[in-house]
Symmetry: C3
Subunit: 132 residues, 3 copies
Protein backbone atom coordinates (compact mmCIF):
# COMPACT_ATOMS: atom_id res chain seq x y z
CA UNK A 1 0.00 0.00 0.00
CA UNK A 2 1.25 3.45 -0.93
CA UNK A 3 -0.10 6.79 0.27
CA UNK A 4 1.27 10.09 -0.99
CA UNK A 5 0.76 13.69 0.02
CA UNK A 6 2.26 17.02 -1.01
CA UNK A 7 2.80 19.67 1.65
CA UNK A 8 3.82 23.29 1.22
CA UNK A 9 5.68 25.49 3.68
CA UNK A 10 6.93 29.03 3.40
CA UNK A 11 10.31 29.96 4.86
CA UNK A 12 11.28 33.54 5.65
CA UNK A 13 15.07 33.59 5.84
CA UNK A 14 18.20 31.50 5.36
CA UNK A 15 18.93 29.12 8.21
CA UNK A 16 15.30 29.04 9.32
CA UNK A 17 14.38 25.77 11.01
CA UNK A 18 10.78 24.52 10.78
CA UNK A 19 9.60 21.56 12.86
CA UNK A 20 7.53 19.28 10.59
CA UNK A 21 7.13 16.39 13.04
CA UNK A 22 3.42 16.83 13.69
CA UNK A 23 2.54 17.47 10.04
CA UNK A 24 4.26 14.23 9.01
CA UNK A 25 2.63 12.32 11.86
CA UNK A 26 -0.75 13.56 10.59
CA UNK A 27 -0.02 12.34 7.07
CA UNK A 28 0.91 8.89 8.41
CA UNK A 29 -2.30 8.78 10.45
CA UNK A 30 -4.33 9.80 7.39
CA UNK A 31 -2.66 7.04 5.36
CA UNK A 32 -4.09 4.30 7.64
CA UNK A 33 -0.82 2.40 7.10
CA UNK A 34 0.12 0.49 10.26
CA UNK A 35 3.61 -0.85 9.56
CA UNK A 36 6.20 0.36 7.08
CA UNK A 37 8.15 3.52 6.39
CA UNK A 38 7.54 7.18 5.62
CA UNK A 39 9.86 9.01 3.21
CA UNK A 40 9.90 12.80 3.38
CA UNK A 41 11.57 14.61 0.48
CA UNK A 42 12.11 18.24 -0.54
CA UNK A 43 12.48 18.61 -4.34
CA UNK A 44 14.89 21.50 -3.84
CA UNK A 45 18.68 21.58 -4.25
CA UNK A 46 19.10 24.09 -1.43
CA UNK A 47 17.04 22.46 1.33
CA UNK A 48 17.96 20.16 4.21
CA UNK A 49 16.12 17.70 6.43
CA UNK A 50 17.58 16.98 9.86
CA UNK A 51 16.50 14.75 12.71
CA UNK A 52 17.48 16.30 16.02
CA UNK A 53 16.28 18.28 19.02
CA UNK A 54 14.78 21.73 18.37
CA UNK A 55 16.31 23.48 21.38
CA UNK A 56 17.49 27.08 21.22
CA UNK A 57 21.15 26.46 22.08
CA UNK A 58 21.37 23.48 19.75
CA UNK A 59 19.77 25.63 17.06
CA UNK A 60 22.78 27.96 17.33
CA UNK A 61 25.15 24.98 17.34
CA UNK A 62 23.58 23.70 14.10
CA UNK A 63 24.13 27.13 12.51
CA UNK A 64 27.76 27.13 13.71
CA UNK A 65 28.38 23.59 12.40
CA UNK A 66 27.00 24.51 8.97
CA UNK A 67 29.05 27.73 8.88
CA UNK A 68 32.18 25.80 9.94
CA UNK A 69 32.06 23.00 7.37
CA UNK A 70 30.26 24.83 4.54
CA UNK A 71 31.13 28.54 4.96
CA UNK A 72 28.92 31.13 3.27
CA UNK A 73 31.84 32.63 1.33
CA UNK A 74 34.75 31.22 -0.68
CA UNK A 75 33.10 29.18 -3.41
CA UNK A 76 33.18 29.48 -7.22
CA UNK A 77 29.51 28.82 -7.98
CA UNK A 78 28.57 32.19 -6.50
CA UNK A 79 25.81 33.39 -4.18
CA UNK A 80 24.17 30.15 -3.13
CA UNK A 81 27.03 27.66 -3.51
CA UNK A 82 26.93 27.03 0.25
CA UNK A 83 23.20 26.28 -0.03
CA UNK A 84 23.84 23.54 -2.59
CA UNK A 85 26.71 22.10 -0.56
CA UNK A 86 24.63 21.97 2.65
CA UNK A 87 21.79 20.24 0.84
CA UNK A 88 24.25 17.75 -0.66
CA UNK A 89 26.04 17.04 2.64
CA UNK A 90 23.01 16.77 4.95
CA UNK A 91 20.50 15.61 2.32
CA UNK A 92 16.99 16.89 1.49
CA UNK A 93 15.16 13.79 2.78
CA UNK A 94 14.55 11.48 5.71
CA UNK A 95 13.06 8.00 6.13
CA UNK A 96 11.37 6.95 9.38
CA UNK A 97 9.78 3.65 10.45
CA UNK A 98 6.04 3.26 11.18
CA UNK A 99 4.71 0.83 13.82
CA UNK A 100 1.04 0.39 14.79
CA UNK A 101 0.17 3.49 12.79
CA UNK A 102 2.69 5.73 14.52
CA UNK A 103 5.96 7.26 13.36
CA UNK A 104 8.82 5.83 15.42
CA UNK A 105 11.34 8.42 16.63
CA UNK A 106 13.39 9.21 19.69
CA UNK A 107 12.28 11.69 22.35
CA UNK A 108 14.73 14.26 20.97
CA UNK A 109 14.34 13.41 17.30
CA UNK A 110 12.27 16.20 15.82
CA UNK A 111 11.95 16.20 12.03
CA UNK A 112 13.35 19.57 11.02
CA UNK A 113 13.33 21.35 7.68
CA UNK A 114 16.29 23.72 7.38
CA UNK A 115 16.15 26.51 4.80
CA UNK A 116 19.65 26.49 3.28
CA UNK A 117 19.01 28.94 0.43
CA UNK A 118 20.10 32.59 0.70
CA UNK A 119 16.55 33.75 1.51
CA UNK A 120 13.10 32.41 2.32
CA UNK A 121 11.09 30.58 -0.34
CA UNK A 122 7.93 28.59 -0.91
CA UNK A 123 8.91 24.93 -0.39
CA UNK A 124 7.24 21.72 -1.49
CA UNK A 125 7.50 18.53 0.58
CA UNK A 126 6.64 15.15 -0.96
CA UNK A 127 5.61 12.56 1.62
CA UNK A 128 5.45 8.86 0.63
CA UNK A 129 4.05 6.30 3.09
CA UNK A 130 4.70 2.65 2.16
CA UNK A 131 3.52 -0.35 4.15
CA UNK A 132 0.44 -2.30 5.09
CA UNK B 1 4.95 -7.36 2.19
CA UNK B 2 6.33 -5.76 5.32
CA UNK B 3 8.33 -7.43 8.08
CA UNK B 4 9.44 -5.58 11.20
CA UNK B 5 11.75 -6.42 14.06
CA UNK B 6 13.11 -4.53 17.07
CA UNK B 7 16.67 -5.22 18.17
CA UNK B 8 18.46 -4.04 21.30
CA UNK B 9 22.16 -3.45 21.79
CA UNK B 10 24.12 -2.15 24.73
CA UNK B 11 27.03 0.21 24.16
CA UNK B 12 29.73 0.79 26.75
CA UNK B 13 31.39 4.08 25.82
CA UNK B 14 31.25 7.03 23.46
CA UNK B 15 32.67 6.35 20.03
CA UNK B 16 32.07 2.59 20.33
CA UNK B 17 31.48 0.94 16.96
CA UNK B 18 29.30 -2.18 16.80
CA UNK B 19 29.07 -4.25 13.61
CA UNK B 20 25.39 -5.10 13.02
CA UNK B 21 25.79 -6.63 9.56
CA UNK B 22 25.06 -10.22 10.55
CA UNK B 23 22.14 -9.32 12.81
CA UNK B 24 20.48 -7.38 10.00
CA UNK B 25 21.18 -10.18 7.51
CA UNK B 26 19.43 -12.59 9.91
CA UNK B 27 16.36 -10.35 10.13
CA UNK B 28 16.15 -10.21 6.33
CA UNK B 29 16.45 -14.01 6.13
CA UNK B 30 13.72 -14.40 8.76
CA UNK B 31 11.46 -12.03 6.79
CA UNK B 32 11.41 -14.41 3.76
CA UNK B 33 11.36 -11.29 1.56
CA UNK B 34 13.30 -11.93 -1.64
CA UNK B 35 13.48 -8.55 -3.35
CA UNK B 36 13.13 -5.08 -1.86
CA UNK B 37 14.86 -2.96 0.75
CA UNK B 38 15.75 -3.07 4.43
CA UNK B 39 15.62 0.13 6.50
CA UNK B 40 17.56 0.18 9.76
CA UNK B 41 16.78 3.02 12.16
CA UNK B 42 17.92 4.04 15.65
CA UNK B 43 15.24 6.09 17.47
CA UNK B 44 17.96 8.07 19.24
CA UNK B 45 19.15 11.64 18.61
CA UNK B 46 22.75 10.77 19.55
CA UNK B 47 23.33 7.65 17.45
CA UNK B 48 24.86 7.11 14.02
CA UNK B 49 24.74 4.41 11.36
CA UNK B 50 27.67 4.12 8.97
CA UNK B 51 28.43 1.82 6.07
CA UNK B 52 32.16 1.21 5.84
CA UNK B 53 34.99 -1.20 6.63
CA UNK B 54 35.53 -2.14 10.27
CA UNK B 55 39.32 -2.13 10.21
CA UNK B 56 41.37 -0.95 13.18
CA UNK B 57 43.19 1.92 11.43
CA UNK B 58 40.02 3.11 9.72
CA UNK B 59 38.30 2.97 13.10
CA UNK B 60 40.80 5.56 14.34
CA UNK B 61 40.33 7.61 11.15
CA UNK B 62 36.55 7.68 11.73
CA UNK B 63 37.15 8.94 15.28
CA UNK B 64 39.52 11.63 13.94
CA UNK B 65 37.05 12.71 11.23
CA UNK B 66 34.24 13.07 13.78
CA UNK B 67 36.50 14.99 16.17
CA UNK B 68 37.65 17.26 13.30
CA UNK B 69 34.25 18.25 11.93
CA UNK B 70 32.19 17.99 15.14
CA UNK B 71 34.62 18.66 18.02
CA UNK B 72 33.64 17.51 21.51
CA UNK B 73 33.97 21.03 22.95
CA UNK B 74 32.86 24.50 21.86
CA UNK B 75 29.09 24.24 21.58
CA UNK B 76 26.28 26.06 23.41
CA UNK B 77 23.91 23.11 24.00
CA UNK B 78 26.32 21.68 26.55
CA UNK B 79 27.64 18.19 27.31
CA UNK B 80 26.28 16.18 24.41
CA UNK B 81 25.91 18.84 21.71
CA UNK B 82 28.54 17.03 19.62
CA UNK B 83 26.49 13.82 19.95
CA UNK B 84 23.43 15.51 18.44
CA UNK B 85 25.47 17.10 15.67
CA UNK B 86 27.13 13.80 14.71
CA UNK B 87 23.76 12.04 14.59
CA UNK B 88 22.37 14.87 12.45
CA UNK B 89 25.34 14.95 10.06
CA UNK B 90 25.84 11.20 9.57
CA UNK B 91 22.23 10.14 10.21
CA UNK B 92 20.80 7.42 12.48
CA UNK B 93 19.62 5.14 9.65
CA UNK B 94 20.60 3.21 6.54
CA UNK B 95 18.70 1.63 3.66
CA UNK B 96 20.10 -1.37 1.79
CA UNK B 97 18.74 -3.36 -1.20
CA UNK B 98 17.67 -7.03 -0.97
CA UNK B 99 18.05 -9.45 -3.89
CA UNK B 100 17.19 -13.17 -3.83
CA UNK B 101 16.73 -12.97 -0.08
CA UNK B 102 20.15 -11.47 0.60
CA UNK B 103 21.26 -8.00 1.67
CA UNK B 104 23.32 -6.43 -1.10
CA UNK B 105 26.49 -4.69 0.10
CA UNK B 106 30.08 -4.26 -0.97
CA UNK B 107 32.92 -6.39 0.40
CA UNK B 108 34.02 -3.54 2.65
CA UNK B 109 30.58 -2.24 3.50
CA UNK B 110 29.91 -3.32 7.06
CA UNK B 111 26.80 -1.88 8.70
CA UNK B 112 28.15 -0.10 11.76
CA UNK B 113 26.35 1.44 14.71
CA UNK B 114 28.41 4.26 16.23
CA UNK B 115 27.64 5.37 19.78
CA UNK B 116 27.80 9.17 19.59
CA UNK B 117 26.48 9.95 23.07
CA UNK B 118 28.85 10.87 25.92
CA UNK B 119 28.64 7.38 27.43
CA UNK B 120 27.30 3.91 26.71
CA UNK B 121 23.55 3.29 26.66
CA UNK B 122 20.90 0.71 25.88
CA UNK B 123 19.96 1.28 22.24
CA UNK B 124 16.92 0.21 20.24
CA UNK B 125 17.13 -0.56 16.51
CA UNK B 126 13.98 -0.69 14.38
CA UNK B 127 14.37 -2.85 11.26
CA UNK B 128 11.78 -2.63 8.46
CA UNK B 129 11.96 -5.04 5.52
CA UNK B 130 9.76 -4.13 2.54
CA UNK B 131 9.43 -6.15 -0.65
CA UNK B 132 8.04 -9.36 -2.04
CA UNK C 1 5.12 -4.13 -6.36
CA UNK C 2 8.89 -4.29 -6.54
CA UNK C 3 11.04 -3.79 -9.62
CA UNK C 4 14.83 -4.19 -9.54
CA UNK C 5 17.58 -3.46 -12.01
CA UNK C 6 21.39 -3.60 -11.91
CA UNK C 7 23.33 -0.94 -13.81
CA UNK C 8 27.05 -0.76 -14.48
CA UNK C 9 29.17 2.33 -15.02
CA UNK C 10 32.88 2.75 -15.55
CA UNK C 11 34.69 5.67 -13.91
CA UNK C 12 38.06 6.89 -15.11
CA UNK C 13 39.54 8.85 -12.22
CA UNK C 14 39.05 9.87 -8.61
CA UNK C 15 36.54 12.67 -8.12
CA UNK C 16 34.79 11.93 -11.41
CA UNK C 17 31.12 12.91 -11.33
CA UNK C 18 28.65 10.98 -13.50
CA UNK C 19 25.08 12.19 -13.94
CA UNK C 20 22.76 9.17 -13.59
CA UNK C 21 19.47 11.08 -13.59
CA UNK C 22 18.25 9.91 -16.99
CA UNK C 23 19.31 6.29 -16.47
CA UNK C 24 17.35 6.13 -13.21
CA UNK C 25 14.35 7.83 -14.80
CA UNK C 26 14.41 5.14 -17.51
CA UNK C 27 14.44 2.35 -14.91
CA UNK C 28 11.42 3.91 -13.17
CA UNK C 29 9.58 4.18 -16.50
CA UNK C 30 10.41 0.54 -17.29
CA UNK C 31 9.08 -0.52 -13.87
CA UNK C 32 5.55 0.76 -14.70
CA UNK C 33 5.28 1.79 -11.04
CA UNK C 34 3.22 4.97 -10.75
CA UNK C 35 3.56 6.00 -7.08
CA UNK C 36 6.22 5.06 -4.57
CA UNK C 37 9.97 5.44 -4.17
CA UNK C 38 13.16 4.56 -6.01
CA UNK C 39 16.25 3.57 -4.01
CA UNK C 40 19.62 3.81 -5.78
CA UNK C 41 22.55 2.08 -4.09
CA UNK C 42 26.23 1.52 -4.89
CA UNK C 43 27.58 -1.65 -3.21
CA UNK C 44 30.98 -0.01 -2.85
CA UNK C 45 32.65 1.42 0.28
CA UNK C 46 34.38 4.17 -1.72
CA UNK C 47 31.48 5.58 -3.72
CA UNK C 48 29.14 8.49 -3.12
CA UNK C 49 25.70 9.54 -4.37
CA UNK C 50 24.84 13.24 -4.32
CA UNK C 51 21.77 15.19 -5.33
CA UNK C 52 22.76 18.62 -6.63
CA UNK C 53 23.34 20.72 -9.74
CA UNK C 54 25.98 19.52 -12.21
CA UNK C 55 27.43 22.92 -13.05
CA UNK C 56 31.13 23.41 -13.72
CA UNK C 57 31.83 25.89 -10.90
CA UNK C 58 29.81 23.86 -8.39
CA UNK C 59 31.72 20.79 -9.53
CA UNK C 60 34.91 22.51 -8.33
CA UNK C 61 33.20 23.58 -5.10
CA UNK C 62 32.20 19.96 -4.42
CA UNK C 63 35.82 18.90 -4.89
CA UNK C 64 36.98 21.68 -2.52
CA UNK C 65 34.38 20.73 0.11
CA UNK C 66 35.46 17.08 0.04
CA UNK C 67 39.14 18.04 0.21
CA UNK C 68 38.41 20.41 3.13
CA UNK C 69 36.46 18.03 5.37
CA UNK C 70 38.06 14.73 4.28
CA UNK C 71 41.59 15.59 3.10
CA UNK C 72 43.41 13.11 0.87
CA UNK C 73 46.34 12.81 3.31
CA UNK C 74 46.69 12.41 7.07
CA UNK C 75 44.87 9.16 7.82
CA UNK C 76 46.07 5.86 9.32
CA UNK C 77 44.22 3.43 7.04
CA UNK C 78 46.51 4.37 4.17
CA UNK C 79 45.93 5.11 0.48
CA UNK C 80 42.18 5.21 0.22
CA UNK C 81 41.15 6.17 3.77
CA UNK C 82 39.69 9.42 2.44
CA UNK C 83 37.62 7.39 -0.05
CA UNK C 84 36.03 5.38 2.78
CA UNK C 85 35.40 8.49 4.85
CA UNK C 86 33.74 10.34 1.96
CA UNK C 87 31.49 7.36 1.24
CA UNK C 88 30.59 7.16 4.94
CA UNK C 89 29.90 10.88 5.30
CA UNK C 90 27.94 11.48 2.09
CA UNK C 91 26.53 7.94 1.72
CA UNK C 92 26.47 5.58 -1.28
CA UNK C 93 22.70 5.79 -1.84
CA UNK C 94 19.72 8.04 -2.48
CA UNK C 95 15.94 7.63 -2.23
CA UNK C 96 13.59 9.68 -4.43
CA UNK C 97 9.76 9.78 -4.64
CA UNK C 98 7.78 8.66 -7.71
CA UNK C 99 4.50 10.29 -8.73
CA UNK C 100 2.43 9.40 -11.81
CA UNK C 101 5.31 7.28 -13.09
CA UNK C 102 7.89 10.05 -12.85
CA UNK C 103 10.81 10.62 -10.49
CA UNK C 104 10.18 13.76 -8.44
CA UNK C 105 13.20 16.06 -8.14
CA UNK C 106 13.98 19.75 -8.16
CA UNK C 107 15.15 21.62 -11.25
CA UNK C 108 18.72 21.62 -9.91
CA UNK C 109 18.66 18.19 -8.32
CA UNK C 110 20.68 15.96 -10.61
CA UNK C 111 21.42 12.47 -9.29
CA UNK C 112 25.20 12.31 -9.31
CA UNK C 113 27.56 9.38 -8.75
CA UNK C 114 30.90 10.57 -7.38
CA UNK C 115 33.92 8.31 -7.69
CA UNK C 116 35.65 8.62 -4.31
CA UNK C 117 38.24 5.85 -4.76
CA UNK C 118 41.86 6.68 -5.70
CA UNK C 119 41.30 5.74 -9.35
CA UNK C 120 38.57 4.81 -11.80
CA UNK C 121 36.76 1.47 -11.44
CA UNK C 122 33.87 -0.58 -12.77
CA UNK C 123 30.90 0.26 -10.55
CA UNK C 124 27.63 -1.55 -9.94
CA UNK C 125 24.41 0.32 -9.12
CA UNK C 126 21.42 -1.52 -7.62
CA UNK C 127 18.11 0.22 -8.33
CA UNK C 128 14.98 -0.80 -6.36
CA UNK C 129 11.59 0.65 -7.32
CA UNK C 130 8.81 0.07 -4.75
CA UNK C 131 5.22 1.18 -5.13
CA UNK C 132 2.05 0.52 -7.09
Amino acid sequence: MVFTKTLYIETEHTGEIIDLTHKIESVVQESKIKNGIVHVFAPHATAVFALTELESNLREDIKKLLDDITPVEGWKHGGNAYSHLRSMLLAPDKTLPIRNGRVIRGTWQDLLFIEADISGRLRKIEVTVIGE
